[in-house]
């Protein structure tokens, strides 16, 4: 605030004032239900996940393999040249131990989100997923991991067809 201004507006309200009805309120929701078309490239990605394969796509102009696949390379704005089946292994680019759910409930055992660079994609190209079958304190950046899939009959063409990524000793 400028030192020329002595008062400034805005009135703080406590949760109690609302709960006790000292201040009126109404609750409402915006019920937004959607059906998003998967489109071309993400359709291929989901079809691949159903078959237990992670697909990327390759841009010959930029010599780059991206994941998830896309139809247009955002670097050169040219059509991608082809889909490429990638490995279901990779390395942990970064991770977190999260003690709060998306709707801000506290949890004792942390969720373990990570960015995983997928083998076969270009350097620093990965996807967001979760880690599992590992003590949270033992997760390290650079750790090699492998996808743990739902059984074939349970897979539906969704990112959740991969349950999580677990530590993996083998080289690719």
């Amino acid at each position: 605030m400028s030192d020329k201004i002595s008062t400034y507006p805005g009135t703080s309200l406590s949760e109690k004032e609302i709960r006790d009805g000292k201040v009126l309120s109404i609750q409402d929701q915006m019920p937004g239900k959607f059906s998003w078309d998967t489109g071309i490239a993400i359709g291929k990605y989901l079809a691949g996940l159903k078959d237990g394969v992670i697909f990327g796509s390759y841009c010959a102009t930029c010599r780059r393999t991206v994941v998830p696949p896309r139809t247009i390379c955002e670097w050169c704005f040219q059509p991608m040249d082809r889909y490429i089946p990638l490995e279901d292994t990779g390395i942990v680019n970064t991770f977190s131990l999260c003690y709060v759910t998306w709707d801000v409930r506290r949890i004792k055992e942390p969720e373990t989100p990570a960015v995983i660079e997928i083998d076969g994609a270009s350097s620093l190209h990965g996807i967001m997923h979760k880690l599992g079958e590992v003590e949270p304190q033992e997760i390290k950046i650079g750790m090699r991991v492998k996808a743990v899939w739902k059984s074939a009959e349970m897979r539906q063409g969704a990112i959740t067809d991969i349950l999580y990524f677990k530590p993996h000793e083998g080289s690719h």
């Binding site: 605030m1 400028s2 030192d3 020329k4 201004i5 400034y8 507006p9 805005g10 009135t11 703080s12 309200l13 406590s14 949760e15 609302i18 201040v23 609750q27 409402d28 915006m30 959607f34 998003w36 998967t38 993400i42 990605y45 989901l46 991206v66 994941v67 998830p68 896309r70 955002e74 670097w75 680019n93 970064t94 991770f95 977190s96 131990l97 999260c98 003690y99 709060v100 759910t101 998306w102 709707d103 801000v104 942390p110 989100p113 990570a114 960015v115 620093l124 190209h125 990965g126 996807i127 967001m128 997923h129 979760k130 950046i141 969704a158 990112i159 959740t160």
Partner: protein, 388 residues
Amino acid sequence: MSMRKVAVVGAGMTKFVRRALETGKELSWQASSMALQSCEMTMDDVEAVCLGTAPDAFDGVHMNGEYLSDGAGAWRKPYMRSYVGGGTGVFVPIQGWYHVASGLFDVVLVVAEEKMSSYYPHAQGAFLTIFDHTTERALKPNLLWIFALEMNRYMQTYGISKEDIAQVAVKNKRNAADHPSALLGDPNITVEDVLNSEVLAWPVNRLDVSPVSDGAVAIVLAAEHVAKRITDKPVWIEGVGWNLDTAYWTNRDLAYPRYVEYAARMAYDMAGIKEPRKQINIVEPYDPFDYKELHHMEGLLLADRGEAPQMVADGVTQRDGDMPVCPSGGLLGVGNPIAAAGLMKIAELFWQLRGEAGNRQVPGQPTRGLAQAWGDLMQVGTVVIMGR
């Protein structure tokens, strides 16, 4: 390119609070009328209005720009809302700037508002909707994930500790103790307090994070001939820049914000700045989380990569240091009503460069400052350079 000079001539803001009695319209009006009064102007002088507000889900109002328009003074005026996520608060003055620089308007009112308390029970739930609906949202991510993931990568890449980063939260919350509008100012907070606060998403603790808030900020922009008529202390907008990285945030380097660098280079070029570390006196980088201030200082080319924590440790970024950073108290201390928080940084530079910042005044009569914000899904940088 022929562009007119544009000055900030007035500014106003509400308190930033967890939950405001006022509606978003009323907060917008309070900030707008205060900004106009500060330069003795009325709505008759205002030719167009620019408004910034973040996702509609927070205010719980679809078409929030239209909803807020009466409080922003937009009645029967050219009016437009801009939105680039968290970057909005520093983008909306850029939008206002080109309204005036282009010659279309002489006086423009710029307003930014957020009322996040309307999302109930907690605004974090709304952040789920920013992730890709098909490939990410099914994992039930929350906003903390992406900050925690980016912070961890930044720490690992440069060997930075949580202690190094916590110093930023301490500095900003202490600075905010001098800001009359601040929500979380604390003159006595320590690094231990930050490290001992609840772990939300390791490596992020509660006090590493800025608070969800309600608030509004407004500034008045004027063309040179008008600015010189109404004030002897105009603060000029010398450079603007904005830049967007790939929409695929898991397909790039998370340790370095290249898009912030590009936005900064655009602004430096426009302002004729060759040596930003010598020519910028005050910095207000975006600090929704404490590591982001460091990340952004590096992207702005004001610190070498991985070296920003050392500047903090050496006291360089204190209010009386060689390069004060977030003398306002930043989002960490003043609060984070998203779009309003970015415009708060512009208002801070306006007051600092006029020597009107009271207890927060940076010594040495600074002549040039930079404000920056960041947003969308970790991909947009917005930069404004101001000087007197």
